[in-house]
Amino acid sequence: MKKIFLMLAVIAMCALIVVSFSIVSCKKEEAQVKEDVAEESEEEGAPSGAEITGEKVELVMWEQSAEWRIKAQQSTIDAFMAEHPNVSIKIESFPFVEYQPKINSAIQTGTAADIIAVVGGQWDVPLIMAGLVSEIPEDVMSIKELEEEYFNGPANASIFDGKVYSIPNHVNMGIGGLVYNVDLLKEAGIIKEDGEHPKFETWEEFIEAAQKCTKFDEDGTMTQAGFSQHGVLDFFSGMSYVLQEGGEVIKDGKVAFNNESGLAALQIYQDIFLKYKVDDPLFIGGLDGFPQGRVAMMNIGGWAGKAAETQNPDLEVGYGDQVPSINPDYPAYSDHDACWAFIVPENSENKDIIWEFLKFYKEEDQWVNRVQYDGELPALKSAAEKFLDDDVMDAYVKAAEYSIYTGYKVDREKFNSTVTTYLEQLARGDLTPEQALEGLTEDLNKVLSGQ
């Protein structure tokens, strides 16, 4: 009897395992069937049934949980749906920290959205290499159009292996313009009247103003930072300084700043904390401190100002000119390592409608309209140029031509995390710039080689 029950138990367990694997296989087959059907439709060249019959089509768009971005996308979606009443597009959003893993797992199992916002030029590359992303048709976006009509950064981030795989959402302004706390700058006497923008001709002038805005308590603890960027996009600052010293970040799949440019960039970064003392690694500054009114200035994209205004409606945020280059011999380049862009999974259905939407998305008036919600610079030059002389956007339009796509980082999160760790140690004085450069070169080359 005991033997019979033992056998039954083993059989039941095996059955459970077999059932589990079967379910997984079925899902994969389902995804494969969907892919085959989509391919057949494309080959036949038949317009989608929805277009002919006007039947209701529902599309899903994925975005990160950034209110300003969702509002901007929704404005375009609403306009598109008004012209296409049979089409409904719904946005689903996810916190940034969960977003990439979510996309990676969903896209493999065929459960991803029809249109997905990704960190283009980085997150999408392994997906493209795995054959999971649709090439964007030439009539939707061509390389020629990208090269002639779009800024360098977003254009190059959308192209992989000679083909277009994404539609850029904006120019990534990791750094590029001055975002400042109006009240703090008035208090320090940097600006005197409402509507006045601070103007800095040189990096030294900028630092001097930052020092005037910096405050300490009687124990010497920083209570207000004049210029704070640490903890937020450190990697952008650090790598942008390399470009501003005439260097390159990545070349031929290896670190390209293991030279005088890299050393000078790291030295400047350390000086901000230890020499000029306008920021402190022990101070809650950057994107956390700015909405709380603890930071006077940041060198960052307009989106950061919009984010701060969303968090603290009482905060008066100013948008100024480009922060001068750390080296006057070079323009104020910024590291455009990626930008938010739309990809379309290979197994998406209703691709005709999706391409129609993306064509609509990149129309000039749609680019212009979205700016009021997200404060982000349009990737399309003609749309961006409409904001020259705009109080907020003027600096970013001028900075955009210096926004350089620095290349695929293989593992962007690990790359930037490694840079951030070394910059943190520099800021604390735990490493000299020479030590940081040596360590960074070694560790980043490992990341770039896929280790």
Binding site: M13, P95, P126, V232, F283, T420
Partner: protein, 303 residues
Amino acid sequence: MKKLKRHKGIVLFPYLVAYPVLIYVMVFLIFPILYLLFLSLSSTDQFSKVSIFKGLDNYLILLKDELFWKAFKQTFILTGIRVITIVPLSLLIAMGINNIKNTHLRNFYSMAYFSPVITTTTAIALVWMWIYDPTLGLANYILSLFGIPSQSFLLNTHIALFSIAIVSIWKDIGWFMIIFLAGLQGIPEHLYEAGEIDGINNWSRFRYITFPLLAPTFLLIMVVVMINSLREFTSIFVMTRGTISGEPGGPVNSTLTLSVSMYKDAFLYNKYGSGAAIAIILLIILGIFTIAQFRLYRVKWEY
């Protein structure tokens, strides 16, 4: 015949109860561990899920990685702090509550200490982030009353890990206090009465009566504290991750532990093999400590 049928029923019943659980354990516990072991010995493409057997490569890479050893060291520092704090403190609190004669008051104190246990870790972490705020936080306000300068608890690489430890100790101490309280209430009163007759003092009372009879409870608590400490994740994740990148681990990885490292490798960097290898290493460490503690305390159970 009836006796035979009833006998059969009694024999069948334990199997009917045990086997479903056994199947559950095999499918949802044993199989995943075996798959984890397989992942740790392979390199798995994150999209195609094709795995290439790599032997011990993932482990060898980890052993040469400074960051792994940093996480290893910090895991044990955190574990040590929690063990040497939680065990005696929770016992002291339990003994204090046990001595309260008023039932309502005893229940009130028990609930008060237990309430952090039933609060979600995320909520606790968010509140403590405010407490630790360098400029506006309660902790620095209290320090200022004693003339101590403000501290950046979560941004200071030297004290970030201790700051996390305080939060996790505060959260868990109530749970172990309840277990000790149950153990204390299980000690027969006549043993203490006998001790009083013999004229023993409080220390002797504790050393010769309370402590030996609490040995099984001690063992249980030590094992559980150690296991929980080695797995500590949520408070580190919430309190010391960057704003934009969302990477936990604190300034210059000063709060990076093995569990956090495992998460980063597996889910942020898509290095399943490396993440799985860290998980297996953690499992081995937990197993060694558990077995060692059971062996250490086994002898003392017999009087």
